[in-house]
């Protein structure tokens, strides 16, 4: 469950990033978002509250019934539970029926209601919340059925009631919501199913290996019970994922939300899971072979290794499957490398760089540790720290290098769009900025410890030892920030001056979004494309438009297609006070008066 929640948070974050990047990189042709009234929103909120309250009450009452008449029943029970559940049903059920009838009428009378924000939000919450409750309840019920948990009739009642609530909303969603509005719901369900599946699969494989090799991870928990619980988690997660992703969401064409899902699940979760599992497992092996293991025997030292290997394998599978989704052609963008591919590469580079930095810091720490060993009293041997650092570098460097090599190859083949892309510039600036901030923090730490010992008259080898972490962070952060700052400066100098001069291009009469994307990619400017409404279809050439834009003095350009070819008009949209003149409405033929008292002739 924790993994599912984390996946959802990541999905939201990456989705936000993709939306911002796309909005920043091309602001053309986005339809105005449909605004729903406050009244409509409150109606749906009321229905959702009624449904949740009624379901809680009904599940509680059914649980009490099963507890009393299907098992031995409670030893002592008050009347509070029955009163609460009764109140929930007595109030919630009529309220839900009443509001439901109002909304049913609205959905029947106005087809646009099905595409409203209120309906999409309601049906998403009305399926996802019951889904989460039902998944947990089914898991608890399976625990009882498999004999690993005590009898739990209340969980069975919750599973029955909330599954029914989910089923009703799922069928409503399938029947009423247009396909393109159902994507958020399907992706949320897919993320929940995927997170649960991964946790269950790691537990199943890890505990199976534990049993096969005679290992026991938790001293007080039977591995057989752990395996049964993990198998139940896997069964539930796989069912939800198959229904939501495999049967429905997987067939969706690439779009912002599906790309965000693929990036969150594959790039972020996949790489983090894979790197953490691999680094930990490799360092266990290195410490056992070359270092000083603290455990008495191999069974104790390697008790986590099966689960770490399973985690690493799960990360690799997540990365492989979801990265493959980004290779599908997008429905709206032109073929080739787009921002989602750049986000994939630069996010991978960041994660690889992070693992590499951790390895670098630990290497410096191990070095200082070894140099100042004479004042050490106890703690992890320097060799073990160095071996963990080596493991982090062995995993982090290839991950960073593979992603960075892809990005650099794109820089060589299409230098203009790649270097001008928001993602690459953000990556370089962010890595430099974070590196500088971390280095400054570490420097303050170094100077503080030095001054503290200096003022106390106690600058010894122990001072250097206590500085080992701050020194490691300082060295690595400064190196990373310096390298990326140099690269950013070099790339900024390489950008042609003319391309930088034009900030905004308006293509009047060009309706093809692909053309706008192409012009934006070549010029690095923001491009707005207005389609013609008279049906005339003149042929636009992206290369001609880009040449005109490059030759224009700027700072903004309006391009109009004439029978003789494209015509570029340099304008300045920032100087609206001069350019925009309000013309008062006057009768035809009468002279119009300008705001400053002069006469403006309109034609």
């Amino acid at each position: 469950m924790i993994a599912s929640v984390l996946l959802l948070v990541l999905l939201a974050v990456v989705g936000g990033v993709v939306v911002v990047v796309r909005a920043v990189s091309h602001r053309s042709g986005a339809p105005a978002a449909r605004t729903s009234s406050l009244r409509e929103l409150f109606t749906y909120v009321l229905l959702l509250v009624a449904v949740l309250v009624t379901s809680t009450g009904a599940a509680g009452l059914l649980g009490q019934l099963l507890d009393r008449y299907a098992t031995d029943g409670p030893l002592v029970a008050g009347s509070v539970e029955a009163a609460r559940n009764g109140a929930f049903v007595v109030v919630g059920l009529p309220l839900g029926l009443l509001v439901g009838l109002v909304i049913r009428r609205a959905l029947r009378d106005d087809p646009a209601e099905r595409t409203s924000f209120g309906w999409a939000a309601y049906v998403t919450a009305g399926t996802v919340v019951p889904l989460v409750v039902a998944m947990v309840a089914v898991h608890d019920s399976l625990g009882w059925a498999l004999g690993v948990d005590p009898e739990n009739p209340r969980a069975v009642a919750r599973a029955v009631v909330w599954s029914a609530v989910w089923l009703v909303h799922w069928r409503l969603d399938r029947a009423l919501t247009p396909a393109d509005h159902a994507t958020p719901h399907l992706l949320l369900g897919s993320a929940l199913g995927l997170g649960t599946t991964v946790v269950g699969a790691v537990g199943t494989v890890g505990n199976t290996l534990d049993l096969a090799f005679g290992l026991q991870r938790d001293t007080f928990v039977d591995p057989q019970d752990q395996l049964r619980r993990a198998a139940a988690t896997l069964l539930i997660g796989a069912t939800v994922w198959t229904l939501y992703w495999w049967r429905h969401a997987a067939s969706r064409p690439r779009a912002v939300l599906t790309d965000a899902y693929a990036l969150a699940a594959g790039t972020v979760v996949g790489i983090v899971t894979g790197v953490v599992g691999t680094v930990w497992a490799v360092s266990d092996v290195l410490v056992w072979a070359l270092g000083s293991p603290s455990a008495a025997g191999a069974a104790e030292h390697f008790r986590n290794t099966p689960h770490l290997l399973a985690t690493a394998a799960a990360g690799a599978l997540l990365w492989w499957y979801h990265t493959g989704l980004l290779a599908r052609p997008a429905a709206t963008a032109r073929p080739g490398r787009d921002e989602a591919h750049r986000l994939r590469d630069y996010a991978s580079a960041v994660l690889g760089l992070l693992a590499t930095c951790v390895g670098g810091v630990m290497l410096v720490v191990a070095l200082v540790d070894a140099l100042t060993r004479s004042v050490a009293v106890a703690g992890t041997p320097a060799a073990n720290t160095a071996l963990v650092a080596v493991a982090a570098l062995l995993v982090g460097v290839p991950v960073w290098w593979l992603a960075w090599r892809t990005a650099q190859a794109a820089c060589r083949t299409t230098p203009g769009p790649e270097r001008a892309s928001v993602t690459r510039r953000t990556y370089l600036v962010a890595v430099t900025g974070v590196g500088v901030l971390v280095a400054v923090g570490a420097l303050i730490g170094v100077v503080y410890v030095l001054l503290e010992d200096l003022f106390a008259g106690a600058v010894t080898l122990g001072t250097l030892r206590s500085l080992r972490f701050a020194l490691g962070i300082l060295v690595v952060a400064a190196a990373v920030a310096g390298a990326h700052a140099a690269l950013f400066r070099a790339e900024r100098a390489m950008r042609p001056h003319a391309v930088q001069r034009v900030r905004y291009v308006v293509l009047v009469g060009a309706g093809d979004p692909a053309l706008a994307h192409e012009v934006a990619a070549i010029t690095g400017a923001r491009v707005l494309s207005w389609p013609r409404t008279d049906g005339a279809a003149l042929v636009w050439s992206a290369a001609d438009v880009a040449r005109l834009v490059a030759a224009s003095p700027g700072p903004d350009v309006v391009v109009v297609q004439t029978p003789d070819g494209p015509l570029a008009v340099p304008v300045d949209r920032q100087r609206g006070d001069v350019a925009a003149v309000t013309v008062p409405l006057v009768p035809p033929g009468a002279p119009a008066t300008s705001p400053d008292g002069g006469t403006v002739t309109t034609s």
């Binding site: 019934l65 009393r68 008449y69 029943g73 409670p74 030893l75 002592v76 539970e81 029955a82 609460r84």
Partner: protein, 155 residues
């Protein structure tokens, strides 16, 4: 006899459906509420479960003298310890299981406070009562729930 005007019997019947549904729901709800508010099953006081049930019921009712009578003779706890215990009046105690081995018995219960705040059902914690068979029947040993420490002093 002839009927004047359109026949509205079908419409009237259809109009009765919602009324019947509402009445049915009310009847089901009343039945369920009656079923779940009946007194809990009373266990035989000669069994470990019955002793624990009597003890827990007395503690929750504030009858600490009756509860203390069910403590084993060598118990470190007394009625004064139970007087100091804080309990919510909304406490529910479910029987999880029991084992008897000769003169020793264990009764495991799940203590939950209603209304449970967790819709996912995570409320409640398991407690174990240890009992010894004496000449007076099963008696509770050790420091039983809801106590965590006992002085054993009667004043």
């Amino acid at each position: 006899m002839t009927t004047i005007g359109p026949d509205r019997t079908g419409e009237r019947r259809r109009a009765l459906i919602p009324v019947a549904v509402v009445l049915g729901l009310v009847a089901v709800l009343a039945l369920v509420l009656y079923a779940v508010t009946r007194p809990a099953k009373v266990w035989d006081p000669a069994t470990p479960e019955g002793v624990v049930q009597t003890y827990v019921t007395a503690v929750l009712a504030g009858d600490t003298v009756t509860a203390a009578d069910l403590l084993a003779p060598g118990s470190p706890c007394a009625a004064t310890d139970l007087d100091r215990a804080y309990l919510s009046r909304d406490t529910r105690v479910d029987l999880v299981g029991s084992t008897v081995q000769g003169t020793q018995a264990q009764v495991r219960v799940l203590v939950a406070v209603d209304p449970g705040p967790d819709p996912l059902g995570g409320n409640g914690e398991e407690r174990t009562f240890r009992l010894t068979r004496t000449t007076a029947g099963w008696r509770i040993d050790g420091i039983p729930w809801p106590l965590y420490e006992c002085t054993g002093r009667l004043t």
